[in-house]
Symmetry: C2
Subunit: 226 residues, 2 copies
DNA sequence: CTTGACCATACAGTATGCAATCCGCATCGT
DNA sequence: ACGATGCGGATTGCATACTGTATGGTCAAG
């Protein structure tokens, strides 16, 4: 497992928090694949710290749902089957739809302008780098979550979508599907601009459902092959 | 802080899990009031274990949102203001409403019978013991969460409502309000029986909203007095 | 050749000691 | 009198040593 967890900056604040972030990132972007065993001693050695902060990190990640742990048997990177993902996206649609509806009621002019700008950038990336597209997509959704003015919902959505496959799902998108995504972003922005909460919710939900369809079908395909 | 955390049964399986449950229960039913400092050594002494499992317990409870912790300054029991509770109940209405809608599609005859039985018991407790009423209410909601067949939603709701005030809120109910609660339970059960998801969702939401109204107004009153 | 018990080993669970940090208080200087 | 500075106690953060438990392998008996 060498070289998987190299930190580039000085350890953030304290060892536990740093370990948590490094391991989380490694899981989310796939360097630690689902099913991978996470041995405390090994991780500690790699991060140059003792087992105690590693244990704390694993505990936090377990609470976040990124790792599974059994008593006396250690932790593994949690894996998600297609049913699981379907459930998760259903929940995401519910929460982000709700966030969009709430955002319509209270979103600022500045935030709307920000969303339009994000749409521009998203559109210009349709035939461009996937990595950048993912980042822009994340930004768009985050602006709406913040505008919903519900701390709990925003927090929840961020936790819920914190999964390897979710972040990487744009990889599966065809150019045509990217265009449709861009269109939905624009339509959501317009609905918010017009203070039309119902419509913002509606489009957001469909946007999430389509993401679910792509992802779930790809995962089911992969499951077939086994 | 003597005598607050006495365990009655043999320690569940391991010390961390036992500590987590004991502290959680103490917070939820109010023996550890909001704002109370949670010193590791003190808790360890009281539970007859070392600081390590106590640290782990506090970490878990922090992830659950029951305690706040600042680096190098320890943990305190988290307190919730009225705005916070309002946000939380809004979220609860959304999630439990959704759970009720889903439950309508797939609930078993047996579960419906169970709900009717719960309604009977709830009605017979209207002028009875609050403690029992709270328990019966919890049972009712749990049956629906299980029937929703969405592991994540059920899990989420249980985490979200895991708060001292939520469990104790029936204390504030008048007999008339209890009657109305009983009526809503019955109506929800009937809607589920008739496979009417939309109506089950509707009534569930109103049921939660009314709980919110009672609780938030009581908390605002208490905040005024300061 | 199969099956069961035992043992070795690897790893998680817990305890404890020491270092780092924070906070209150007193002392000093302006 | 008031703010800055430094000291000491309290408490968390981390490391390490020890203990308990699960698993896989080996060997003997059937």
């Amino acid at each position: 497992m060498a070289r998987i967890l190299q930190e580039r900056a000085p350890l953030v604040r304290n060892a536990s928090a740093a370990a948590t972030e490094l391991i989380r990132e490694a899981i989310v972007d796939g360097r630690l694949p689902p099913g991978q065993r996470l041995k405390e001693e090994e991780l500690a050695r790699e991060l140059g710290i003792s087992r105690t902060p590693v244990r704390e990190a694993l505990l936090i990640l377990q609470a976040e749902g990124l790792v599974d742990a059994a008593p006396n048997r250690g932790a593994v990177v949690r894996s998600h089957d297609a049913d699981d993902l379907e459930d998760l996206y259903q929940l995401r649609a519910l929460l982000e739809g709700y966030a969009a509806r709430r955002a319509a009621a209270s979103i600022s002019e500045a935030a709307v302008a920000g969303l339009h700008a994000s749409c521009e950038r998203f559109e210009s990336l349709i035939e461009g780098d996937v990595q950048e597209l993912v980042k822009e997509n994340l930004l768009f959704h985050n602006v709406i979550l913040d505008a919903s003015r519900s701390r709990r919902v925003a927090e929840l959505v961020r936790k819920v979508i914190e999964l390897p496959l979710v972040y990487r799902s744009y990889i599966w998108y065809s150019v045509e599907q990217r265009r449709i995504s861009a269109h939905y972003h624009r339509q959501i922005t317009r609905a918010l601009e017009a203070r039309d909460g119902e419509r913002a919710e509606l489009v957001m939900k469909e946007h999430v459902y389509e993401a679910r369809d792509v992802l779930v079908s790809k995962v089911r395909e992969a499951e077939e092959r086994e």
